[in-house]
Structure formats: structure tokens, C-alpha cells
């Protein structure tokens, strides 16, 4: 079956395409900012899902790739005068290379050991960057306003950044679908279900896992660059926030791990909830506790997440809700 004839292939892409397109037509700053945040988490959660959902490996410290890639891209823009696009791609590439090196060591670990190791990597990266002179140490880096001039001023630069994020999100979703429905992806799913049995059937698990880790690290590196460029500065406290990692996990689990649509649904729902909690005076300081609680409830009662649950109940919708 050809994938472009499948409704499940088009649905996530069409939703994001329309959403981003409408925002670009409306041209309103507040809508752009809200959408930027939701789409950023969609793309981050989808990247994480390529590893978590397809191979079953829980990367608890995945935000490290957002941080390191973001720092690198930001450095290239603010200190080296690179344009945004190549800088963001370089940020992604750096995250990919780090994942390759780190992956060779930590992907041998399974289950909780792997999850713990990824937290360690995030903390090590934070400590390193905080003491790394070229990245500005603990104070971080600031972008010179002249960098925005290239894009027609700060206001226009924000729209350019948004457009790039929109395209990146579409690419992540495309890659997620293609990985899932490829021979390579079948091998990953076999690893997720039973790694030893998969290897006995000929799946080259070490290689497949490393490639997947690199893919799932590449996109957060791009997204990090866009995010920090939009903010105008980057510092260790913003780049390596473990709670963002946990929120990414919640989004994937909420929407449904191992599905293409799930992380999108999860990111949108979680951001909506979060927006509500942050404005409510009682919950303002509790949103992380709520995130933890949601995670617990999902794992206990709906481990398949929203999309997985619907797919299980209504098999007729399986080809639509991938």
C-alpha cells in the first residue's frame, strides 16, 4: 500500500499545515506566540516519540538536545554572524553528533538504567555549558539586534522564525510517519516489544537504536536554535530544564506513544491545560505537580494514551489515526 494514499499519512500534516497557514494569514502577534509554544512542543514531543514510541527507550533527559543544539545555533548566529537557517541546521547536526557519541555508550543500557543515564547527560551538559567560556558561561549569550535586521527588523524576524518552526514541525511529523511505516520502523517496533527476540530474528538492534536516537536528537537541536533566537538570549537555566523533558514525556504519553498523531494531540491538550492552570491562582505554582499526576494516571489507567485508546476501541479508525 502506498503511504500517500493513506488518510493517516495526511491527517497530521494537514492539521499542522492549516493551523500554521491560518496563523500566517491572521498575522496577530499573540496568536503567533501561543501557536509557537504549542507547535514547538508538538515537534519536541514527536521527536521524542520517534525514540520512545517506536523503540520503547525512555529518554528522560531529552531536553539536552534542545539545549546543546540551541546553544550551538545561537552561538553561530550571535558570535559568528551566521544566518538563521544554516545555524539552526548546524544546531540540529551538533545534537545528532552528540547523540551518536553518547548513544554508543548509553544505548547498551536498558529500562531504568537508560532513563537515568539520560538525566545524567542533561545535568553534565548543563554543568559543562555553565563553565564554557565561548558560550558565555553562567550568564549565557545575547543576540545583537543587528542580527534581526537581516530579516527586516525584530518583528519580522519573529514571523520568519515561526515559519521555520512550522516547516520543521511538518518535517518531524513526516519523518515520524515514514519511520513508523518502513522496514526500519518494523525493526524498531520489534525491539520495543522484545529486544532479544528481535535480534534473534536478525534486527541489528545496536545500529537501529543509535540511528533512531540521532534522528530524535536532530530536530530538538533545530527547535532549540529557533526558540532561543526568538527569545534573544540563551542561558544554562533555560536550555537544560529537566521539567521540560518531563513535560515532553507527559505529552507523548497523554496523546499516545508510538502513534504519529499522539504527540500532536498530547502537546495541544497539555499546553491548553497548562495555559489554564497558569492563569488559575490556585494551580499557578502546581502545574508541574499536576503534570506528574497526569503522567501517573495515564501510565496506570490509559497506557496507550488518547489516540491509542481510540484506535483500540474503534479499529475502523486505525487507518485514519496513525
Amino acid at each position: 500500500m502506498k503511504f500517500w494514499r493513506q488518510p493517516g499519512f495526511w491527517l497530521p500534516l494537514a492539521l499542522v499545515f492549516l493551523w500554521g497557514g491560518i496563523v500566517l494569514v491572521l498575522k496577530q502577534d499573540t496568536i503567533r506566540e501561543t501557536t509557537f509554544t504549542v507547535m514547538m512542543f508538538m515537534a519536541l514531543a514527536s521527536s521524542l516519540n520517534i525514540l520512545l514510541g517506536y523503540t520503547g527507550y525512555v529518554s528522560f533527559g531529552h531536553i539536552v538536545f534542545f539545549g546543546l543544539g540551541g546553544y550551538t545555533g545561537f552561538f553561530l548566529i550571535s558570535e559568528m554572524g551566521w544566518p538563521l537557517y544554516p545555524a539552526a541546521l548546524a544546531g540540529g547536526a551538533l545534537s545528532g553528533v552528540i547523540a551518536l557519541l553518547v548513544g554508543l555508550a548509553v544505548l547498551r543500557l536498558r529500562g531504568a538504567y537508560f532513563a537515568l543515564a539520560t538525566i545524567g547527560i542533561n545535568e553534565a551538559a548543563r554543568a559543562f555549558v555553565s563553565n564554557f567560556g565561548p558560550f558565555g558561561g553562567a550568564t549565557g549569550l545575547f543576540v545583537n539586534f543587528s542580527a534581526y535586521e537581516k530579516y527586516g527588523g525584530a518583528g519580522q524576524a519573529l514571523w520568519t522564525t515561526f515559519t521555520f518552526l512550522w516547516i520543521t514541525t511538518l518535517v518531524v511529523l513526516l519523518v515520524s510517519y515514514l519511520v513508523k511505516h518502513s522496514r526500519f520502523g518494523l525493526g524498531l517496533q520489534a525491539i520495543r516489544e522484545d529486544e532479544d527476540a528481535a535480534m534473534v530474528m536478525g534486527v541489528q538492534a545496536p545500529r537501529a537504536k543509535t540511528i533512531t536516537y540521532v534522528i530524535s536528537a536532530f530536530f530538538p537541536g533545530i527547535i532549540g536554535t529557533l526558540y532561543f533566537f526568538k527569545n534573544g538570549n540563551v542561558e544554562p537555566g533555560d536550555a537544560f530544564q529537566l521539567h521540560m523533558s518531563i513535560e515532553m514525556l507527559v505529552m507523548v504519553m497523554l496523546g499516545g506513544m508510538g502513534t504519529v498523531l499522539g504527540p500532536m494531540v498530547g502537546a495541544t491538550a497539555y499546553q491548553g491545560l497548562r495555559g489554564y492552570l497558569l492563569t488559575s491562582p490556585i494551580f499557578k505554582d502546581l502545574h508541574l505537580a499536576v503534570a506528574g499526576l497526569i503522567l501517573l494516571l495515564i501510565i496506570l489507567f490509559v497506557p496507550a494514551g488518547a489516540v491509542g485508546w481510540v484506535r483500540g476501541r474503534l479499529p475502523a479508525l486505525r487507518r485514519v489515526l496513525e
Binding site: Q189, V200, M201
Partner: protein, 248 residues
């Protein structure tokens, strides 16, 4: 031609000597039965042969190549497939997708499209065609055993390792499975099978080897092995087994 040569294989788990100097050859095209009491080291021998564990000592030669210490996926690609004692279906995948894993990553390394056909052929061969679209978690024990077999067959192996594929089956299911195994042999696939169901293994094996406490204590034609006093003694701890063995 010898498809498999196992030479002086020793495997230890900490202080436990699971295999001691095991040596045997397997000519292509035959069915070799591997029997022995519980805990004798049969499954461990499979694990060493197909690369799940590296032996502490000794060599495994497969189709003339030394494969000792190779990872299990490399051994699989060279044409050795295995059905596990504890069935391990990939639960979230459908029955067909499970078998496609074998076709995609086994010896012939099919693309997804051609793997679908290979998977359906393997499912037909083991009589599971009707279940192809079900999640594999929903199968009963007998069907899961057939799924294990189909996955291994879809890899189009030269050598098939079967670990107790008859265990837990009722007499009718055993007869069906034995028929399937004989047909596989007739296609030219060599089979090494671990089995506790004596009557079946005695009737279909060309030769039998017997493992006891990690050592090979007998090898020969089924009737020779059944009459071997050492073999009978090995099973003495298990009176029911002994009775069944003597009844042959």
C-alpha cells in the same frame, strides 16, 4: 556436508557449569533431536549456537564459517532461525507483522512489500492464515507456538532451531505440528530440535543427542539412544520420563 559443527563448547554462568565440552556435527537436511532432563543445558546450547551468549570455550562452525561470538542478528542473517521455548510474540504487532519481521531481517532481507507475501506464505504453512490481522497477543498457546515457527520460517533459514515447540499442545495439535515439521524438513531445511515429548522426537529425528548436566552423554539413532543405559539413568530422577522412554 556438515551444516553445523559444535566443537568443545563450554559455557559457565558464574559458578554454574551449564555446558561442558559439548561436541557434535549436524549433516545438512537431517532432523537432529536434542533431549535431556530439565536444566540439562539444552536451551543454553541453543543460546550459544545462535549467538545470544558467547561460549567460554569452543567453536561454532556454521556452513563452514566460524561464527563463535558473533551477535545473534549476524547469525540470523547467515541463515539460522529459531523458535523459542518461551513464546515471544511481539504483542502490539499483528500476527502478519510479527512474521514480516522474520522475512525482513532474516537471511533474504526482504523489503516490506515482499515481506507481506513471504509472511502470508509462512502463515499458510503453519496453518495460521485466518489470524493474520489479529494482534498477536490474542493468540492461544498452540497458535503462539505456530507463530514462533512461522516467524522462523519466513526468514528462509538453512538451519532451524526448535525449542520445545510441542510442549503444551494436545495430541491432535502435536500430530499437526509434527506434520508441519516434516514438511519443513522435506523442503531442505535442516532442523535441530529440543523436545520432551519423547514419542514425537523419537519418531521424526534422524539422530538424537542427549545432554545431561551440561555434558553430551549419548548420540545415535533414536532406537540406540533409547536403549542406552546412561540415558535411562539420566532420566531416572524423572520416573514418568523413564517410563515413556522405555515404552518406545
Amino acid at each position: 556436508m556438515m551444516i553445523l559443527q559444535v566443537q568443545d563448547v563450554t559455557k559457565r554462568f558464574g559458578g554454574l557449569q551449564a555446558l561442558t565440552d559439548v561436541t557434535f556435527d549436524l549433516p545438512a537436511g537431517q532432523i537432529l533431536g536434542l533431549i535431556g532432563p530439565n536444566g540439562a543445558g539444552k536451551t543454553t546450547l541453543f543460546n550459544v549456537i545462535n549467538g545470544v551468549y558467547a561460549p567460554n570455550k569452543g567453536q561454532i562452525i556454521f556452513r563452514g564459517d566460524d561464527i563463535t561470538g558473533m551477535p545473534s542478528y549476524e547469525v540470523a542473517r547467515r541463515g539460522m532461525a529459531r523458535a523459542h521455548q518461551v513464546v515471544r510474540p511481539l504483542h502490539d504487532l499483528t500476527v502478519r507483522e510479527n512474521v514480516m519481521v522474520g522475512a525482513c531481517f532474516g537471511r533474504e532481507g526482504h523489503s516490506l512489500a515482499s515481506a507481506v507475501q513471504k509472511a502470508d506464505a509462512a502463515l499458510a504453512q503453519v496453518g495460521l492464515s485466518g489470524r493474520a490481522d489479529q494482534p498477536s497477543g490474542l493468540l492461544n498457546v498452540a497458535q503462539k507456538k505456530r507463530l514462533e515457527l512461522a516467524r522462523a520460517l519466513a526468514a528462509r533459514p538453512y538451519l532451524l532451531l526448535l525449542d520445545e515447540v510441542l510442549a503444551g499442545l494436545n495430541p491432535t495439535e502435536i500430530t499437526e505440528m509434527v506434520d508441519t515439521i516434516l514438511k519443513i524438513r522435506d523442503e531442505g531445511i535442516t532442523i535441530l530440535m529440543i523436545e520432551h515429548v519423547m514419542q514425537a522426537v523419537m519418531s521424526i529425528s534422524d539422530r538424537i543427542i542427549v545432554l545431561d548436566y551440561g555434558q553430551l552423554i549419548a548420540t545415535g539413532k533414536p532406537e540406540e539412544v533409547a536403549a542406552n543405559p546412561q540415558v535411562i539413568e539420566a532420566y531416572l530422577g524423572d520416573p514418568e520420563m523413564t517410563a515413556r522412554l522405555m515404552a518406545e
